[in-house]
Every structure is written in C-alpha cells, then in structure tokens.
C-alpha cells in the first residue's frame, strides 16, 4: 500500500453491533467492486458501520462531508501556487482513486447534483477519473471503492440524487436497531447499566412515534449514547435526557412537553 494512505488506516476495531446481515452484504458487494449507498436516519450508525468495515477489510478510508458549496474541484483537486510556480494538488477523491482506498462521501445529497456528476465515470465499468484541468485520465486502482451515505428522512425535491447517479449504486437501508440490540449498543458505548439503557431506548421509541407530527426524526441512537454517558458520569437522568435528547430535538413547546412526559414515564416525575 502507498505510504501516503497510512494515515487513513483505522488502527483499532471500532465497536459495531450488527442488526442484520449488513456486514455480509457489504462484504459481498465490496468484493464485486460495486459502489454502495448507505441510507438511513441520522445517528443510526451509518458512519460507524463504514469505519468498522474499513477496519475489517483492512482498507484506508477517506471521508468527505458534503455540503452545498462543494465544487467538483474540491473533490478531484486543483492547481495551487508555490514559490516555483503552479503545482497540482490531488483532491480526496483523486487520492483514493489513484492509490486504492475507500472514498466515503457523507450526506451526498447536500452537495449540488451537478457536482456529484464527476463520480459517474468512476462508477460504471470504465472506472476512471478524467482530470480535465490537468489533461490526465486516472485509471482507478483495483482497491478503490466508493461509498456514499444520505438521510432519506428530510429530503426535498431540491436535495435528492439524480436518477442517473442513483442507478450506479447498490444500497443498504439502515434503521434504528431493534430494542434489545439498541440497548446493547447504549450499554457498550456509554457504560450504564442495561436496565437504565433499556429505559432510554423506550423513550426513543416513543419519540419515534411522533415522526411526522412535527418531528422530522425521533431520538437517535447517538443521542441515547450521549445521554447514557452523562448518566454514567453521575448526572441525574432527567437532566441528562433533557440535555442530550429532548431539548436539542425540537423547539416546539407542545412536543417538548410530550417528550418530557416520555422521560417521566421511565424515570418518574422530576424530583
């Protein structure tokens, strides 16, 4: 492997608790070289999953968080100035393509649709990346893989992938794991007792029933882990839930009272 990629290797095994057969599915698709979409609500473990898979398959992982101002040259690279003159600087995508790494584009729908078109020649059988400014065509390294993720929950017409982009990918849908698994995750990540973690999971489940009634998304596993770690440090459950779960979730007073009611249904009225 190119020494350039060493910083991108993941040294320690990230904790990931599989909820289904996603590990086997991803490994099979990976072996075939199929680009993958990971979709699911925020905080359900998409990023953790790709880190885990990169560690498991011993591949470097280059992550890029997408946003609306991102341009194609942010992905493929650009000329910069130095004392001698101009020098070409590979973008993260080009590094991954040239040297063989997993390129992970997080929240791909946040980038403008015409920006993401640059990945088209990479994701069909050509597997190449034309750098028009440099007049070069980079053939993809056999180890290069492309993985993108997005959240279908708050998509609008303006923020969606082009059908021509979509159809190049395989996809795995993620959701919040079943209660038992989610409790296990919260226990492992935050270090609180399983019984208390189970209560947190119940609150999250009740909040997810409010999706579409003013909440875009319910309380995520990530929020549960945060609340759990606060409780493990000795913060009272009501305060921990308010800080890490209910208050950040919404500004609507009616929804907040309902969410506080769910906390109360697990931990009793606030003393």
């Amino acid at each position: 492997m190119d020494p350039l990629l060493h910083p991108y290797l993941i040294d320690h095994e990230p904790y990931y608790r599989a909820a289904g057969n996603e590990v086997a599915l991803f490994s099979a698709a990976f072996a075939r070289g199929l680009p993958m979409i990971l979709k699911g609500p925020t905080g359900c473990g998409k990023t953790r999953f790709i880190e885990y898979m990169a560690w498991r398959l011993q591949r470097p992982l280059i992550t890029m968080a997408c946003n609306e101002d991102m341009t194609a040259s942010d992905l493929v690279g650009r000329y910069l100035l130095d004392a001698q003159g101009t020098v070409w600087h590979d973008g993260p995508l080009t590094v991954a393509v040239r040297h063989g790494a997993i390129c992970y584009l997080d929240e791909i729908v946040e980038a403008r649709q015409d920006t993401t078109v640059v990945i088209h020649p990479l994701t069909d059988d050509r597997r190449m990346l034309p750098l028009d400014k440099r007049g070069e065509v980079v053939r993809a390294h056999p180890d290069f893989r492309l993985v993108v993720s997005y959240n279908p929950g708050y998509q609008s017409v303006a923020k969606d992938m082009k059908p021509s982009t979509r159809q190049r990918f395989g996809a795995i849908a993620f959701d919040f794991p079943p209660a038992g698994t989610e409790t296990e995750v919260v226990v492992h990540e935050s270090g609180i007792a399983p019984e208390r973690a189970a209560r947190l999971v119940k609150i999250a489940e009740q909040s997810r029933a409010l999706r579409g009634r003013g909440l875009d998304e319910g309380i995520s596993t990530r929020m549960l882990v945060h609340a759990g770690s606060l409780m493990a440090e000795g913060i009272a459950p009501h305060d921990a839930c308010a800080l890490a779960m209910t208050t950040p979730l919404t500004d609507d007073a009616d929804l907040l009272t309902a969410l506080d009611g769910f906390v109360e249904a697990q931990f009793g009225p606030r003393p």
Binding site: R78, Y79, L80, L81, G85, T86, R199, K202, Q206, S207, A209, L210, R213, G214, A253, D254, L255, L256, T257, A258, G261, F262, V263, E264, A265, Q266, F267, G268, P269
Partner: protein
C-alpha cells in the same frame, strides 16, 4: 337604545320580540341597568338569527333565570355553546334552550381548568401518540352543574374526554397520569365485553382490579409511571373512611404500592388475592375477574352500598365504561338496522328521463374560529367557508395572456429595491474576487490563457411577493358610486385586472379571490384566479361574470385567504382587500362583533408574516378601517376614478415595503 334594539329583534323574529316584550318589565326590575339589558337583547338577536324557535324558548324563560342574568358573560358562553353543540339538530337545540341551566358556566374554576387543558391539548395529543394512540382526540366533557361532583375521565372510540373541572391542583401531572392510564387500558384491557346481568357493584370491583392489572402491565414498559400515578394515591384509613368508595380508594392504593400498610381485612384480602394472581400471570383476565367477584360478595356481606355518583379513585382513573358493552343485551331490531337499498348509482347519461339526478355537494368546506370580543375568546369552528370547485388550469393560456390586447402597467413597480447579494467573477467591479484572482494567477503561471473575470460587486436580487387580492362581492358593491355612473363592482374588477396584469408573473405570485357571506354557515369564497394560473381567458371571464350579492363577513374570508397564502413560498406575503363598506352579516346584529373579528384575523395574519392592506370606497370608513387594519394599512378612495390609481400605488408600496 333599548327600543331600537327591540325593533331590530322584532325584525329578525316577531315571536321572540313579542316574548321579550312580555318579560321586559320583570327584567328591567331585575337588571336595573340599561346597558346590561341591551347586551341581553343583542344576545337574543344573535340566537334568533340562527334559531328563532330556540330564541323564543329562551326569551320565555328569561324571567326564571335571575342568577344567570346577573352575569351576561355566563349567559353568552352558555348560549354560544348550545348553538354550536346542537347546530345540526334543531330539536335538541330547542330542548337545550328550554331546559338547560346556564349556571353550569358560572363555575370559574372549571372555566379556568378547561382553558388550561385546551391550551395543552396539542402536547397531550403528542404524548398519546407516543403510546401509539394518535387517533384519539383529547376533548372536554359537557359542562356539568356546580353542586354535582365532576364526571371521571371517559374514553370513547375516538376521543378521551376530560372533566371541565380538574380534581387536583397538579393539573398537568393529572392530565398526563390520566392519559397514561387511558393508554394502559387501550393497550392491555379487553374492551367492550358484554356486561350481561352483572350488578353495578360487581362492575365496580372488577373495574378496580382491572385498573390495577393494566397499570401493573404498563409499569413493565414504563416504570416511571409508578411515581406519577403514586402522587395521586393518597387514601388512608383516616382520610378515606370505611364507606365503599373509601375502601376502594384504599385498595387501589394498596395494589399500587406494596409498601403501604393497611389494616382493613377487605383491603388486605384484595391485595393478597391480587398479588397471588399477579405472580402467576398478569395476562390471565378471568383470574382477575374472579377476584373482583369475590370482593363484591364480601362488600355486599358488609352491607355497604354503591354510592350514587361513584367515581373510581384516584381522580386520574377513567369511568371504565370502555370495558363494558351495556347495550348488547337488548334484542337486535332487524327493521332498525336493515340498510336502506332503495338507491343505486348510475352514470348520468343512462338516467331514465323521469328521474332527477341528485347532485352531491362537492364544494370544499373549511371551518374557522371567530373572535368574540365580548367574551375575549375564540368561538371554535364558528364560521364555515364554502369554496366552489377548483378552477381548472389551462397551460396553454399563458401565451394568450402575454398577447393580451392592452396591458396596463403600474408605474414604479419595476423600480422597487431588492435584497442585496454578491455577484462574483465579474470582468469589472468594486473589489477583487480573491479566489477568482488566485485561479487567474494559477492559470497565468501554468501558461494557460487566464480568465480575466476577477472582480466582484454588490448586486441586487428581486424579492418575490405573493399577493392575494380579496374582492368584496357583497350586495352593496352592486350600487353606483356616488357621483358617477359605474358600480363599485365595476371599479373593483378594474382594479383587480390592473393588479393581476401588472405584477411580473415570472417572479411574483398573485391570486384574485372573492367572498360574500350569508350567515356564519355560508361564507362563499371564490377563486377567480389562483396562484398557479395565468391570467388568461378563463379567469378573465370569471372576473367579468362576478355579480354582487349577500353580505360581508370579512374575518372568515381573511382567515381563508391567510391559509391560502401560507402555502406559498415568497419573501413577503400580502393580502390586499378591496371593499366598499364595513363588515356585516345577516345573522349578526351587534355593531362591533364583525369589526373586532376582522381585526383579530388581521392580527393573526400579521403573526404569520402576512401584511393586510385595505382599499375602500366608503368615505365614512375612517371609524372602522383604522381599527381593523391599523393606522397605516388602509387607503380611502374619495371618488371612483381614483380607485384604480390608488390600488396601483398601494401595490407599489406593498411590494417595496
């Protein structure tokens, strides 16, 4: 003042007026206050305009209601409640006004509690949704007399009804506890079982055990509810006593909290039996029913009667009517339930000539509240806006609209200032665009032809405006404007045409709507041109075909326009209303009611970011337009020719604002 109002009442309904004249001397003695009497006659007129027979019934018994007459607010609340509650059943409505006691609204505590609950209804609804019960509506019980103890919470197929008077000082906790208890029943109880010949005492004890059972089951998933419910279990030997309701409350507490000690043999027996069954299987309903049966037998041996108005304790528990089906024992009446089959559906053109087709009224109805300034409260669902079928949109008309023979223009509209933005990568400008300059230098060094566009400057982007032009189509607009030969309607149409044509259709959105009302149940609303429709032949024909008729219920129309505008994406939103007189309607005699309601509608629209502007042809409009729209949001056109010009000016001002 009194005689003028009586005449108005006479004009609405002779009989009510006559009945009023009979009781008038008594009332004058009772009330001793001319203004209170005037308010009373106004109220009668309000009822009479909607239900003359009910008003007559009320007028005839007014002299028997001295206590209610003392406070006109109570009487008004009561009358409005009756009108709204029985608005589709004339018999029940007359019965209400003949017999129902207005003093049920005299309970200030209940009034305060109901407002408290209604303000939190949305939150409770979300709370229930968290238990998977999103379809149940949170609602209030009918008001009940002051002396009688309030009914318990009751759960029906579509609603959970709370008492108007709250039985505890911790109202929010009680509401949540009741909602969670209701959820426990709906998730775990067998519902609507046949009551059969079970005696009331047996039903009460079985329900008591069932309450404890479902709460136990609920606690397995939601352990925090234990202390929420526990806060209301306060029965002790001293406080609850030895009557049945006291013992039942003590048993409920003993079942809720194993740590509580109680010395009563019946309570201890109930607890022992319950714990034994609970240790076995909480889902075994029949085992628990047997416990209830045993306890009922013991109570009857003690010769303790079931109190007349027994309510399960503590107060968060519901009346348990959802557990039983009381009516199933009645024989099924085949005649009553047989569906009537004497109609059939056929295509209209296959209809035999001797049959008349029955049309289904497909017009969209939306109900809006109205503001009662006298009560300082909203009258919920008071006015009904009826919208004629959606206007068909024709795509091909856009081109026709562009070729319209003569386009009118409003001067100044294209010179409105815009929001500033930054324009990048320009060949010339006020300052350097740094990233463009770096790119340019890179290209130079790389011996590529540089792109010279390295400047930037502040630019402007036009803000998008959405306008609803609301036309008053009431009967008065058919009159001629004083000193001219055109009707108000003609002038309104001219102004509407000007506004619809002069706004830039690529950027601004305009809708032309009209309204006319015939009482609160029929506020007709017409979409002459909708937002997504070009101002082509069809809308122009609709505009030309408008005719004056009916009255002006401005508030309801403004609320409907607000809703229409709320769905639009625009930087700012404007309702421009064209009218010729103050709000009025056939079922309203009070002078200020519709004015205050319209003002409330304008304030609500402002709260949602919409500006309302009024253009009126009424020279005496000063008194009310300022009240409705505020000091700077109206324009009074003195003569007909100026109206169109004024409309244009107002538009420029609004768009520029």
């Amino acid at each position: 003042m009194i005689s003028a109002r009586l005449d108005a009442l006479y004009a609405i309904d002779r009989d009510t007026g006559a009945a009023m004249r009979i009781v008038l001397p008594v009332l004058e003695r009772e009330l001793n206050d001319a203004s209170a009497l005037a308010v009373l006659i106004d109220l009668l007129a309000l009822v009479a305009a909607e239900a003359p027979d009910a008003a007559r019934a009320l007028a005839e018994r007014l002299d028997t209601l001295p206590a209610a007459l003392a406070d006109p607010v109570i009487l008004r609340q009561w009358a409005l409640h009756g009108l709204q509650r029985h608005c589709d059943n004339a018999g029940a409505r007359r019965h209400f006004f003949e017999t129902h006691d207005p003093l049920v609204f005299a309970d200030n505590v209940a009034d305060d509690d109901s407002r408290h609950l209604l303000a939190r209804r949305e939150g409770l609804q979300h709370y229930l949704a968290g238990f998977g019960l999103a379809t149940r509506v949170v609602d209030l019980h009918e008001p009940h007399a002051v002396g009688v103890s309030p009914p318990a919470v009751s759960i029906t197929d579509d609603a959970i009804r709370f008492p108007r008077r709250c039985a505890s000082a911790q109202r929010d906790e009680l509401y949540r506890a009741a909602a969670a208890h209701a959820a426990a029943h709906l998730l775990h109880s067998p519902l609507a079982r046949l009551a059969g010949s079970r005696r009331p005492m047996l039903l009460a004890t079985i329900a008591l055990i069932e309450d404890a059972r479902v709460e136990r089951l609920m606690l397995q998933d939601f352990p925090g509810l234990h202390s929420l419910w526990g806060g209301f279990h306060t029965a002790t030997r001293e406080s609850a006593g030895f009557e049945f309701s006291g013992l039942a409350a003590r048993l409920a507490r003993a079942l809720h909290d194993p740590a509580v000690t109680d010395s009563n043999a019946w309570v201890l027996k109930g607890r022992a039996l319950f714990e034994a069954a609970a240790a076995d299987d909480l889902h075994q309903v029949t085992a628990f029913e047997a416990i209830g049966r045993q306890l009922a037998i013991d109570i009857e041996k003690m010769r303790l009667p079931l109190p007349l108005h027994y309510r399960p304790q503590p107060p968060y528990r519901d009346d348990n009517t959802l557990l039983w089906n009381m009516n199933a024992a009645l024989p099924v009446d085949d005649n009553a339930s047989a569906p009537k089959e004497d109609y059939e559906f056929r295509p209209r053109d296959e209809l035999p000539p001797d049959l008349l087709p029955v049309d289904v009224d497909t017009r969209r109805r939306t109900r809006y509240p109205e503001w009662d300034h006298y009560l300082e409260a909203m009258r919920e669902h008071w006015a009904t806006v009826i919208e004629s079928g959606p206007a068909a949109t024709h795509v091909g008309e856009r081109r026709m609209a562009q070729h319209a023979a003569r386009r009118v223009k409003v001067r100044g509209l294209d010179r409105t200032p815009d929001r500033s933005i930054r324009l990048n990568r320009l060949a010339e400008g006020d300052e350097l665009d740094l990233s463009a300059a770096v790119d340019c230098a890179v290209q130079q060094r790389a011996r590529l032809p540089p792109d010279g566009r390295i400047f930037r400057r502040h630019g402007r982007r036009h803000r998008a405006t959405a306008v609803v032009l609301l036309m008053d189509l009431s009967v008065s607009t058919g009159r001629f404007v004083p000193g001219s030969f055109t009707t108000v309607m003609e002038i309104e149409k001219r102004a509407a045409r000007l506004v619809a044509q002069s706004l830039d259709s690529s950027r601004d959105r305009i809708a032309v709507h009209g309204f006319a009302s015939s009482g609160r149940h029929e506020v007709h609303y017409q979409r002459i041109k909708d937002f997504d429709e070009p101002f082509g032949a069809a809308p122009q024909a609709r505009l030309a075909a408008l005719e004056a008729g009916l009255s002006t219920r401005m508030g309801a129309a403004l609320r409907h326009a607000t809703e229409a505008l709320a769905g639009q994406e625009a930087d700012h939103k404007v309702i421009l209303i064209l009218t010729d007189g103050e709000p009025s309607d056939i079922d309203v005699v009070e002078v200020d009611y519709l004015v205050e309601d319209a003002r409330h509608a304008v304030t609500c629209a402002a709260g949602r970011g919409m500006r309302t502007f009024c253009l009126t042809l009424d020279r005496q409009a000063d008194s009310y337009v300022r009240r409705i729209f505020g000091a700077r949001n109206y324009l009074i056109a003195d003569h007909a020719d100026a109206f169109t010009g004024h409309t244009g000016q107002a538009l420029v001002r609004l768009v520029a604002h």
